[in-house]
């Protein structure tokens, strides 16, 4: 029985969330007025089937007059139970709950909950690692709050709804929180993420570089936004499911290699500022992936069975070249040349060739040829023998050094070991040169260089420059 008392919308609301419009065309909107910790007003809009309309009214009724975090605990199963709806109506109720949680996330930028020392915000991607991070935080007695950022995903991607940070991933994270009786907040980061991470990704390829969007996202977008959300929620710390340790060097908090070298994710966090690291906690620092997966299975988490993706999340399982072309990369066919400029063959588009790449060139030669660099401005891919890929030094830009070291271990891409290096200053802000102890093959401009001290702490980082 739908109560329409709260039908309508709050003008200039503190939180505004809408959902639906896809498969069935049903739409729901929830608007909220928040004062202090309380949701003092809630209204719903709906053009939807009876079940979704009833669920929208239920969301408004149950949110109004409740503390902000109590509303963040409202779940699809609560709704189905209260309204005595059949399980087959879960999709209908979900539209309303999606709208409510979107409104709560939207309100976060205007909410300032009182500081709560025991509160821990847990960053959840919908995957198995963050699920276990949440469970452990909860089990430790902390006042855990789940937080998932919805990020932009290429709408043309084959897995647009299933990728990390997709609607499905958000719901999986939310369902887990709710099953433990915990609140969950969804932050809609789609537009900001696109501007902060996706656009620079495309630009970097257009400039002939091979960017690392994950280090950029962690370093200058996602973790900042989530620490900001933790501030709003009154939480002193943000726990994540990364395999990394947090260490201290004097006054500075740094990320360090995880106990399990096979799963270490410190490189992905290399660009994170110490002020942010200060706030982070890594409940999985001492674990192996297998142990974490086993723990998730034993607790029956849906995330335990989710396929792990190592790919760039916003590609959503799609291919890089197609993505770049769809997003304004003017990828024309051109020549494959050697370093003297002699034409050895042709390519269908220079996008997505990366230094060191051997496959896909289609050029026959006596000795194997590798991509040395791409020059998108000229439309050429330059190739050469493997010896031409070896470099003994590398220049970095946008460099940050947290400690004034001269000797470091430099990790120049995600899946290659670190090499000893000596730092040499260069003129220009944020620029320095690494003199490598031994030559390294296939160094790709645009990739992140993570600089470690002898104990595995990330003491600095930079972006590899074409030099």
């Amino acid at each position: 029985v739908t109560d329409f008392t709260l039908a309508g919308c709050i003008q200039a609301p503190d939180g505004d969330g809408a959902a639906g419009g896809s498969a069935c065309g049903d739409r729901v909107r929830i608007t909220l007025r928040v004062v202090g910790e309380q949701i003092v007003g809630a209204r719903f809009g709906a053009l939807a089937c009876p079940a979704a309309t009833a669920a929208a009214a239920w969301c408004a009724t149950r949110a109004q007059g409740r503390p902000f975090l109590a509303a963040a605990r409202l779940s699809v199963s609560d709704c189905l139970r209260d309204l005595e709806l059949e399980a087959a109506r879960a999709d209908c109720a979900l539209i309303a709950l999606d709208a409510l949680h979107a409104a709560l996330g939207d309100a976060l930028s205007r909410v300032a909950l009182a500081s709560a020392p025991e509160r821990v915000v847990v960053a959840m991607s919908g995957g198995v690692d963050s699920a276990v991070a949440l469970a452990r935080t909860h089990a430790s007695g902390a006042d855990a709050v789940g937080l998932t950022m919805r990020l932009w995903i290429d709408p043309a991607a084959p897995d647009a709804s299933r990728a990390c940070c997709s609607p499905d991933a958000v719901r999986r994270a939310r369902d887990l929180c709710h099953s433990l009786g915990l609140p969950h907040i969804t932050l809609d980061g789609r537009e900001a993420f696109r501007a902060a991470v996706v656009d620079p990704f495309v630009s970097a390829y257009a400039a002939g570089e091979t960017p690392n969007p994950c280090t950029r996202c962690n370093g200058s977008y996602r973790l900042d936004a989530m620490v900001g959300a933790a501030d709003a929620l009154g939480a002193p710390v943000l726990a994540t499911g990364h395999y990394a340790r947090r260490v201290r060097r004097g006054d500075v908090a740094l990320v360090a290699r995880a106990a399990d070298p096979a799963k270490d994710q410190s490189y992905m966090l290399a660009r994170v500022r110490p002020a942010v690291i200060e706030r982070l906690r890594f409940p999985l620092a001492a674990d192996t992936k297998d142990a974490v997966r086993a723990e998730a299975s034993s607790q029956g988490f849906a995330a335990a069975g989710v396929r792990e993706s190592q790919d760039v999340c916003f590609l959503g399982g799609g291919d890089l070249r197609g993505f770049l072309v769809r997003h304004g990369f003017d990828d024309e066919a051109g020549d494959i040349v050697d370093e003297t400029g002699a034409v050895l063959g042709h390519h269908a588009g220079a996008a997505a060739f990366t230094p060191g790449q051997r496959r896909g060139l289609g050029v026959a030669a006596a000795a194997p040829l590798y991509v040395l660099r791409t020059e998108p401005a000229r439309g050429v891919v330059v190739v050469g023998g493997s010896e031409r890929l070896q470099r003994g030094q590398v220049d970095l830009r946008e460099t940050v050094l947290h400690l004034p070291l001269r000797r470091v271990e430099a990790k120049l891409r995600a899946r290659s070991p670190a090499v000893g290096a000596t730092i040499e200053p260069l003129t220009g802000p944020g620029r320095l040169r690494l003199l490598l102890d031994e030559p390294v093959s296939a160094i790709a401009p645009g990739q992140t260089a993570a600089l470690y001290d002898a104990d595995g702490a990330v003491v600095g980082s930079g972006i590899i420059d074409a030099g």
Partner: protein, 380 residues
């Protein structure tokens, strides 16, 4: 309040139907195919039912085949004409699923199904139909009175053009028998019609297939050869008796139809005056007398139905959300009604249970229910 305005969905058993069927449930229980006294008693009832139904519908008694309902009658006709899934048939885009999906299933196996268009009122385009129906076609299938809009098709003209081309015509008359005069004798050619008793005050699970076209149907069900081999199985004499009775009753209910038409017109004129953003589908066409399809802007018909149900009114939506997929009625889509408006459809069908006082009460209830629904939609 309990007001029933969904007679197009089904109707309660009327006294006449109960009296007609009751003797055959216990006293005259026999198997009508048996030669003994019990069989004779049942057979007499079946013969009587067949004669009465034929009289009411204007055909020979032997051209009545009692079936287990309207959908079954439609399927026997579809499969009886084109069960081999070969050749070509012509139909309309506004058929009941009993015909539409039966044809679609055969189309997957190779039958060529051509749909003649309807106009914005939901009336079949006769010129287009005349162009589409060709000699040699297996059959033409048309719904006589539409279950969504209530529109009555010009079946005399359709029968004539089919007869001229020698193409058998099947008419789904499940809704039509309640509201229009059905005279098979006036329709030329190999015509069949499908009828369901429960739309007329009869029991569920009883119906008939009638018309001179029956003789050329191929059997699709196999058994003891009952009902001219088209609907084998021990005859449901009680159902047949009730079916004949309600068909006779519906075909002699001129006064009742006039009353329903008055009530329907009163509903439409008062609702149109009192509620903004309302129009009535097919209002310019000939419709069943108690039938109105109301299109309301800015709301979902199925949600309106739920609200009216809470007030005690049983009405129907033009569409329903089936677990996350609201599909507007295919009938309205064929008429070119846009999706949003089609999802705001409310079907009212008056009949035996209707009383004059129901109309103002229903209008009041719709007027009340529309306000919060539109407020909620306006908040999007």
């Amino acid at each position: 309040v309990r007001v029933y305005c969904d007679h197009a969905a089904t109707t309660p058993l009327c006294d006449e139907a109960w009296q007609a069927m009751e003797p055959f449930l216990r006293e005259r229980f026999g198997n009508a195919s048996e030669p003994h006294w019990a069989g004779r008693e049942a057979r007499a009832g079946l013969t009587d039912a067949r004669r009465r139904a034929a009289g009411a519908l204007g055909c020979r008694a032997r051209d009545i085949v009692f079936t287990g309902g309207g959908s079954e009658a439609d399927n026997i006709a579809v499969l009886g004409r084109c069960g081999a899934a070969q050749g070509r048939v012509v139909s309309s885009p506004i058929e009941h699923p009993a015909v539409g999906r039966a044809l679609a299933a055969l189309a997957e196996r190779g039958l060529e199904v051509v749909l003649a268009p309807v106009d914005a009122e939901g009336v079949l385009d006769l010129e287009a139909l005349a162009d589409l129906v060709r000699p040699g076609d297996r059959a033409c299938f048309v719904i006589w009175a539409n279950n969504v809009t209530g529109v009555v098709q010009p079946v005399s003209a359709i029968a004539e053009l089919c007869a001229e081309r020698g193409v058998p015509l099947h008419l789904d008359a499940v809704q039509a028998v309640a509201g229009v005069d059905v005279d098979l004798a006036a329709l030329p050619g190999e015509v069949t019609i499908a009828v369901a008793a429960h739309k007329l005050g009869g029991p569920k699970g009883a119906g008939l297939l009638a018309g001179p076209g029956i003789g050329s149907l191929c059997p699709c069900l196999h058994g003891g050869g009952q009902e001219r081999g088209l609907r084998p199985g021990t005859e449901d004499v009680a159902g047949a008796a009730a079916c004949a009775t309600v068909v006779e009753r519906a075909q002699t209910a001129e006064a009742h139809r006039s009353l329903l038409r008055e009530l329907r017109d009163q509903y439409e004129s008062t609702l149109g005056e009192r509620v903004e953003g309302v129009r009535f589908a097919s209002a310019g066409a000939e419709r069943l007398p108690g039938h109105s399809l109301t299109l309301l802007d800015g709301l979902r018909g199925d949600t309106l139905v739920a609200l009216l149900d809470r007030e005690g009114f049983a009405v129907a939506a033009g569409s329903a959300c089936s677990s996350g997929a609201s599909d507007p009625s295919h009938v309205l889509q064929a008429m070119g009604v846009d999706r949003e408006r089609a999802l705001g459809a409310l079907r009212i069908s008056l009949g035996d249970l209707s009383e004059p006082a129901h109309v103002p009460a229903l209008v009041d209830a719709v007027e009340r229910a529309v306000v919060p629904l539109r407020a909620a939609a306006a908040a999007l």
